[in-house]
């Protein structure tokens, strides 16, 4: 049975922003349900405000984190057990019953989404993968050697269902999975209505204090990766001066180590970076990061050309991600084909100092 509705799943701020944007653009006609999940805990608070906006027919909350964690690395037997009780799992995890859909828009190939693919496998329901930052450009999530779930007969059904990927910059894709890449419309920073909507959903407040240089921390510590990000932060702080420098902590890291080490003042709020970009004047701020998606968002999503200093060439750690080489190629491609004039990738610590001194006007 074919549904007339569409369903969007959002696991993160970035995905929710895109979900709202999709709803207001090419999904503006017809009914659309939205699932926001506890993969990002703060999203729970957005549910009532999302409902207030009336953007979506239904806003369903999904406690999918535990399920996804449990089955993401599970072996065959456990997977079979999980995929054998899809309806029960949906019953536990979702705040409302699902309907029949003509299309499901999702960003992550997590077990929950794969279960949805099984649920609608025999129905004329299209699965459409939408962008979740640069990993969507780089990682072939369904490659069989990545995880047992990709080889499991139920777990791999999503491969048959997914039809294409929606990316803000489809020509940058280099996953090698032969999935067609189609364009997501860019978000206009001039779109006042969208900004108001998102500000309401995320209860955006103008930050009391900012900094000329903001270092976007990543979740390396949460993932147990030994690395030199603290040393890089220190280098940046010492070059531009502590009064002009701040570290935006990553919410998944267990403690705010840069703050405890005296590398930064306390970052004033936990406003999503994308909302900051949408509301404030990011031209005055230089983003520093090893390789955070947030640093690329401005360019990818909003088409902004602001100062971004990517430190991945100076990163010392075991490996950044499994697809390290592809990631490097992606970043090179991004730099050469897409990045603006204000995008810097210093290759030595001395070059980093030169870049920072230049941007700081020192």
């Amino acid at each position: 049975m074919q549904g007339s509705k569409a369903l969007i799943i959002a696991n993160s701020v970035y995905q929710l922003l895109t979900a709202v944007h999709m709803r207001r653009t090419f999904l503006c006609n017809g009914d659309v349900d939205l699932i926001v999940t506890d993969v990002t805990p703060q999203l729970r608070e957005t549910v009532p405000r999302l409902e207030d906006t009336g953007l979506f027919d239904r806003v369903i909350f999904g406690s999918t984190l535990e399920t996804s964690k449990k089955y993401a690395g599970a072996k065959d037997e456990q997977l079979s057990e999980g995929f054998g009780q899809i309806d029960r799992i949906f019953g536990w995890t979702l705040s409302e019953e699902l309907a029949d859909y003509r299309a499901v828009y999702f960003s992550n190939f997590d077990p929950f989404t794969r279960m949805l693919a099984c649920r609608y496998y025999h129905q004329p329901c299209t699965f459409i993968w939408y962008e979740d930052g640069f990993s969507s450009y780089v990682i072939d999530y369904l490659r069989e050697d990545r995880a047992p779930i990709n080889r499991h007969p139920e777990g791999r059904k999503i491969r048959d269902k997914v039809e294409y990927a929606l990316l803000y910059e489809p020509h940058l894709a280099m996953r090698g999975d032969r999935l067609p890449n189609l364009a997501l419309p860019k978000i206009s920073r001039q779109d006042a209505q969208l900004r108001e909507l998102l500000n309401y959903i995320f209860t955006y407040e103008k930050p009391e204090q900012g900094a000329d240089f903001v270092f976007l921390e990543q979740s390396f510590r949460a993932e147990g990766l030994k690395n030199n990000d603290i040393a890089l932060m220190r280098e940046c702080q010492q070059t531009v001066g502590s009064s002009r420098f701040m570290v935006k902590p990553h919410p998944r890291n267990p403690e705010n180590l840069p703050f405890q080490l005296g590398l930064t003042r306390r970052y004033p709020n936990d406003i999503p970076w994308e909302l900051f970009l949408l509301n404030e004047n990011p031209e005055d701020t230089t983003v520093l990061t090893v390789c955070s998606n947030g640093a690329l968002t401005g360019r990818l999503v909003f088409g902004l050309d602001t100062n971004v200093v990517m430190l991945y060439r100076l990163f010392e750690g075991k490996v950044l991600w499994k697809e390290d080489e592809i990631l490097k190629r992606y970043l090179q491609k991004f730099q050469k084909q897409f990045a603006g004039k204000k995008y810097y990738v210093p290759q030595t610590v001395y070059e980093l100092r030169s870049v920072l001194r230049y941007l700081a006007g020192l």
Binding site: Y350, S354, R357
Partner: protein, 594 residues
């Protein structure tokens, strides 16, 4: 202008068999010994021509006294200083002897020398007669005889190829008519330029196997110290090669090859790059020489033929500022044959400049544009870029054996005061390419030294810290003491000269001084540790290692690297003269401790 104060007219009729020409220059302590050795000759029919080459000491007076004391026998010419060869030429101009000979004013001859050689010349109708040479090493108190040839009958081909003393002017007696059309050139090594070629053109050569000539070898003479003019030796070799009788070319080439070998490996290693350029110039002769094919030792010079050397071409870019006093003088003194490329602001008018260089120029940042132009000049012709604020010295010649070189300014920065490369070197070309990219160096008009540093770190794994390193067997990096500051360790090739300091002082940056003293302390500690380990391995109680020695190596330095440095330091200490000299004292000390 010259004058001679003799009464030649009175003695015109007297037969002169041998004229002995003695150039005199600043030799008041040796002159009398030399003249007396000629006066003591058993040959009666002789004349002595003293050519005072503008001496400033008491030598002119000594000459005049001899002329007064021996009228008709001793003649004196006083002239302006022009060098040894020109002084000999002046002597030749007035010589009346059937034969002529030359004596250096600090050497002596044995009493029977000219009689024996003249007799030989006349009896065998020789144009040249030669003898052996006794070398007296003054400081060492020893002497040795260098035999000119194996047999008293001279086979000219074999003599040119395998004989000795061929280049000396002084161990030979010459028929005066040989000099009708030839004279010495004004240069160092005038002997080499003239005499051996003359020998090849003179088939009638006699030889007396006696060491009649005493050559006194002292330190700090022209043959034992280095000056820039020594590149004249190549002019001399060139003259030898090109004015020799072509029938003896193979022998001449071999004769020169032996001299090159000796110069390149022993006596004038500093000039190795110049010798290599000479080898290349006459590559066809050296590669085809049958003598070199048979002589595996001297034949090793052929290995250098394909070695590229940085041309002696100095690039100095000076926009809107004059070249400081002394800059060119020093270059001319130490590198008289060098090509100088002086680029001022007018030279850039017709140049196409990359956008960022033009922009820098428009904003008045001439230093940025100067650095670019220097780099481009270097790429186009190779050579050495020398900033007007720096002074190069003769030692810089050694660095021409690199393919490309840079030096540290201190532990954190490279210097662009002096650096060099082969023509069209790919690193220099790649650096030029970076001016066309969208990089921070171009946006912020960063100094060239930052560009070079980042490039070398990225592509050649340059390690900062001010240490000497050869990167990928291609790029040589030197200590700050080599190209930036003179630390008086004998290694300096170029130093900053824009900081005025009193005579006898050196300007050295605080960073370099700190680095230098740390390095000395570190080396000493490394040595003590190694010594301790040696003792321990011999079953003795280990010497107490310094506290730092138990620490892990500094970050970024492998244990292998630390071990290698230790070995370097140990070698340096143990090969030093002071360490060798004090060995008996240390041994005695140990004995007492026991």
């Amino acid at each position: 202008m010259c004058e001679w104060n003799d009464r030649i007219d009175e003695t015109d009729q007297k037969e002169v068999k041998v004229s002995v020409i003695i150039p005199v220059y600043q030799v008041e302590n040796y002159l009398e010994r030399a003249v007396d050795s000629v006066l003591a000759q058993t040959l009666e029919e002789k004349e002595i021509i003293l050519v005072d080459d503008g001496s400033q000491d008491t030598s002119p007076g000594i000459c005049d006294r001899y002329a007064q004391q021996y009228p008709g026998l001793v003649h004196v010419i006083h002239k302006q200083n022009q060098g040894l060869g020109m002084a000999r030429n002046s002597g030749l101009d007035i010589a009346r002897g059937e034969y002529v000979a030359f004596l250096d004013s600090d050497d002596t001859v044995e009493p029977e020398m000219y009689a024996a050689m003249y007799t030989k010349a006349v009896s065998e109708d020789c144009d040249i007669v030669m003898c052996d040479v006794r070398i007296i090493y003054v400081e060492e108190g020893r002497s040795s005889v260098v035999s000119s040839y194996t047999d008293e009958t001279v086979d000219l081909s074999d003599y040119i190829a395998n004989g000795n003393n061929i280049t000396y002017s002084v161990n030979k007696l010459y028929r005066r008519s040989l000099w009708d059309d030839i004279r010495y050139e004004k240069m160092l090594f005038e002997d080499i330029a003239l005499i051996p070629a003359l020998v090849t053109r003179t088939p009638r050569i006699g030889y007396i196997k006696e060491a009649f000539y005493n050559y006194y070898r002292r330190p700090n003479t022209i043959s034992t110290s280095f000056v820039g003019e020594m590149v004249d030796i190549l002019r001399a070799f060139r003259s030898f090669l090109e004015t020799s009788d072509p029938r003896y070319r193979e022998e001449v080439v071999y004769c020169i090859a032996k001299q090159l070998y000796w110069n390149m490996t022993q006596s004038r290693v500093l000039f190795a790059a110049d010798f290599i350029e000479f080898l290349k110039e006459y590559k066809r002769y050296f590669l085809l020489s049958p003598y070199l094919k048979k002589d595996s030792k001297v034949g090793t010079i052929l290995d250098f033929i394909d070695k590229e050397v940085i041309p002696e071409r100095f690039i100095c870019v000076h926009w809107h500022r004059p070249i400081p006093e002394g800059f060119l003088d020093q270059l001319h003194t130490d590198f008289p044959m060098a090509e100088l490329v002086l680029v001022d602001e007018h030279a850039c008018a017709a140049e196409h400049l990359p956008g960022n260089v033009q922009k820098a120029l428009d904003q008045g940042n001439t230093a940025y544009a100067e650095e670019y132009i220097a780099l481009r000049q270097l790429s186009e012709g190779g050579g050495i870029v020398l900033s007007p604020e720096y002074r190069a010295n003769l030692n810089l010649k050694k660095l021409r054996l690199n393919r490309i070189f840079f030096g540290f300014e201190d532990d954190e920065a490279l210097t662009t005061g002096c650096y060099g490369a082969l023509q069209g070197h790919y690193v220099i070309q790649a650096l030029l390419d970076t001016y066309e990219t969208d990089s921070i160096h171009n946006k912020a008009f960063l100094p060239l030294r930052d560009r070079i540093r980042d490039f070398l770190i990225l592509h050649f794994q340059l390690k900062m810290g001010g240490r000497k390193q050869l990167l990928k067997k291609e790029v040589q990096i030197y200590l700050p003491s080599v190209l930036a500051y003179d630390m008086k360790d004998g290694e300096n090739c170029c130093r900053r000269a824009d900081i005025p300091v009193p005579e006898g002082f050196e300007a050295v940056s605080g960073k370099v001084l700190r680095m230098w003293s740390d390095r000395i302390l570190e080396n000493w500690n490394l040595y003590k540790r190694e010594l301790g380990e040696k003792h321990a391995s011999k079953g003795k109680a280990p010497a107490s290692a310094p506290a730092w020695a138990s620490k892990a190596p500094p970050s970024g330095i492998s244990q292998q690297e630390v071990d290698r440095r230790i070995q370097d330091v140990v070698k340096t200490y143990e090969n030093s003269t002071s360490w060798k000299l004090t060995r008996p004292i240390r041994a005695l000390g140990k004995l007492f401790r026991k």
